[in-house]
């Protein structure tokens, strides 16, 4: 099964990368951009056919390693 884990800076946590990207987009003429937050996506292949189990597994992966929950939030989506 394919699972996606998105990891991103928590609301309220300073995101210097997102700020720099927002400024660059503004300079390129994308004047409607008000804010950008930059995160990561992990595309994970897991064995088995149980979507619920895969999702629970991916959540544990996020908690244990993929996200630093002091500063990052995450969400998990079973894709197929």
């Amino acid at each position: 099964m394919k699972v996606e884990v998105r990891v991103y800076p928590k609301e309220g946590v300073l995101d210097p990368q997102g700020k720099a990207i927002a400024a660059a987009l503004g300079r390129l003429g994308h004047r409607a951009v008000q804010d950008v937050r930059a995160g990561k996506v992990f595309f994970i292949d897991v064995a088995g056919a149980d979507a619920k189990a895969a999702e629970a597994d991916a959540k544990r992966m996020a908690e244990e390693l993929l996200a630093n929950t002091v500063i990052e939030g995450y969400d998990v989506r079973v894709v197929s």
Binding site: V13, L14, P16, Q17, A20, L65, L66, N68, V70, I71
Partner: protein, 231 residues
């Protein structure tokens, strides 16, 4: 007195620390490869600077799963002195041996220069030979030194006087201009509640002898030697 210096793939200040411990202080020191679980009788452990595991995912994130880190955590729990320098500090944060997390520097660039810090807590095995309020100069070299923590953790650190060093100007004023990376409350280094685990971003190992133009870092190593001798 024996230092144990942990070596991860990508550590690059391990030899600097070894040099300080042996050539400058006349102590014993052993390298401890990240796959080992035995601290080889070390009385104090140093996690040196560098780029453990290439800083993949997040600085320090993968190093924390090294077999050696279980042993280091057990050693710290029993009160053994542990010092994390730069990348070593990042590893201690990811391993949960110190609270908080590192973000990319607010300037989005690698910062490599001397900084000034005020010694805020001299009640640790690594800072006992500094005067409280003393202003010390040390070099930094990092991309992720922008320390942050939840408001509760910060309050706890301040309440417990657990900020060890704070970035300041040469006169000792804690200002935003003197902050090289945007770290909250100008925090350069912290300790755990017990005081035996200390982490800091600046490099005492790179300023431990006059030959390098600055020996203000040497006392961090001397501190732990005298702390252990007093036991």
């Amino acid at each position: 007195m024996k230092f144990g210096i942990v070596v991860f793939p990508g550590s690059n200040c391990d030899e600097d620390c070894h040099h300080v411990a042996t050539d400058l202080l006349g102590c014993e020191a052993d390298y401890i490869w990240h796959h080992e679980r035995d601290l080889k009788g070390a009385d104090a452990v140093i996690l040196p600077g560098g780029f453990a595991y290439g800083d993949y995912l997040r600085a320090g994130a993968l190093a924390r799963f090294s077999p050696v880190m279980e042993t280091v955590a057990a050693f710290a729990k029993e009160g053994g002195p542990v010092l994390g320098i730069c990348n070593g500090f990042q590893v201690l944060l990811e391993a949960g041996l110190l609270p908080g997390a590192m973000q990319i520097n607010r300037g989005l660039r690698y910062v490599c220069r001397d900084v000034w810090m005020r010694a805020e807590n001299t009640d640790t095995p690594f800072t006992s030979l500094y005067e409280r309020g003393e202003i010390v100069k040390m070099p930094v070299g990092h991309m992720e030194g922008n320390y942050t923590a939840s408001p509760e953790t910060l309050a706890e650190l301040e309440r417990g006087n657990r900020v060890v060093f704070r970035y300041c100007d040469p006169q000792g004023r804690v200002t935003d201009e003197a902050n090289p990376n945007g770290a909250v409350a100008n925090i350069a280094g912290i300790r755990n509640a017990e005081g035996n685990v200390v982490g800091l971003m600046p490099h005492p190992d790179r300023c431990a002898e006059k030959l390098l133009g600055n020996d203000m870092g040497l006392r961090m190593f001397q501190s732990v030697v005298s702390a252990l001798a007093a036991k």
